[in-house]
């Protein structure tokens, strides 16, 4: 095998492609915004929960607009190949179910929580931050696997540690505790996303119409075709 073939590391290339998907910080900005919105919505009438679906679609569309405006002019246009929806949904369900079982086992065996306590919705809110934190290890592990960057373990770790802190603070109103958790986690995510975005803008200047054939046709005939 030639040296040039040896230099092509497929895993590395794939990780580089996925790293670019998080390079602009928008994923974390929108995750944060979604968590902040959830913090507000859970304190309203349950009918407002449908707002979250609308927000999810709106954020998705907005991220497309922002990427067209800020990301693609800097590093070129790209759409990463995503997992099949069926595989993705079954993966999420499996992971959240495993976490739920482990979570209950830990609560009822080691923490000595009375199973009867879970007939009270207040107790669900009380332990929700730590459950949510553990669930966040799912996307965290997935991103680490795809990008090869260990820093994304931070997402699961920060979510879990923060959840643990909120649970141990033992707020009188458990729903208030969960709201605080979402507000804090959402703010942290927005700040990290914002910093990433600013660094991205500074590091990558806009490429000035490098694909316009009429601009360079005298210098490079190959562009004329494209």
């Amino acid at each position: 095998m030639s040296d040039s073939h040896k230099n092509i590391n497929l895993k590395e290339i794939s990780q580089k492609v996925y790293r670019n998907d998080y390079i602009d910080g928008f994923t974390f900005i929108f995750l944060g915004a979604f968590l902040l919105l959830t913090a507000g919505v859970i304190n309203l009438h349950p009918v407002f929960m449908s707002l979250l679906i609308v927000a999810f679609i709106a954020f998705f569309q907005l991220s497309k607009v922002l990427r067209n405006r800020y990301t693609y002019p800097r590093i070129g246009y790209f759409k990463v190949k995503t997992d099949e929806p069926k595989k993705l949904i079954s993966g999420i369900l499996l992971f959240t179910s495993i976490v739920l079982i482990v979570f209950f086992l830990l609560l009822f065996t080691f923490a000595g929580v009375d199973p009867e306590a879970f007939y009270n919705i207040e107790n669900w809110y009380r332990f929700l931050p730590i459950y949510f934190g553990l669930v966040m290890f799912g996307p965290s592990l997935d991103i680490v696997d795809k990008t090869g960057q260990r820093k994304y373990y931070g997402l699961g770790m920060v979510s879990t540690i923060l959840g643990l802190l909120i649970v141990t603070m033992n707020f009188q109103n458990a729903k208030f505790g969960f709201t605080i958790y979402l507000l804090l986690l959402g703010s942290i995510s927005c700040i990290i996303g914002g910093i990433t975005f600013v660094r991205f803008i500074k590091k990558y200047p806009i490429i000035i119409d490098s694909e316009q054939p009429e601009m360079q046709e005298e210098n490079d005939d190959s562009q004329e075709k494209y």
């Binding site: 040039s4 092509i8 794939s14 070129g76 790209f78 759409k79 694909e211 490079d220 494209y226």
Partner: protein, 122 residues
């Protein structure tokens, strides 16, 4: 003196070698395909930055890959901000045939390397 062929001492299936995709065996084209494999769609600018190839090199390799039906190029005119003119943009994606060819190529190479290492260990 011509070297003797001894297939029993180096059990590489010659058919596997013959069947190696010549289009993909070129390192530059392999690099392009490797990027496209993880992408749904991209454009020239992105591929140029990632591969580090010149426009000419990238265009000629993409031409070859398009000829054999491994990549698909789709042209669109996009409206630029602060400009009345529309600019052409080419979207590049790997075809299903290209994806299958890349999988076949990887399998063939893995098979050959495995046989080679078995021989050297033996």
């Amino acid at each position: 003196m011509t070297p003797k062929k001894n297939t029993s001492s180096f059990p590489i299936d010659m058919e596997t070698i013959d069947n190696i995709d010549k289009t993909l065996h070129d390192p530059s084209r392999l690099k392009i395909i490797a990027y496209l494999y993880s992408l749904k769609e991209t454009d020239f600018t992105y591929l140029k930055i990632q591969t580090g190839f010149s426009w000419g090199r990238l265009a000629s390799h993409l031409d070859k890959l398009q000829e054999v039906g491994y990549v698909e190029l789709k042209k669109e005119l996009i409206q630029k901000k602060r400009s009345s003119k529309k600019t052409p943009r080419t979207y590049i994606s790997l075809t299903n045939e290209g994806r299958r060819a890349f999988d076949r190529y990887r399998n063939s190479m893995q098979q050959l390397l495995q046989l080679g290492s078995e021989k050297s260990e033996g």
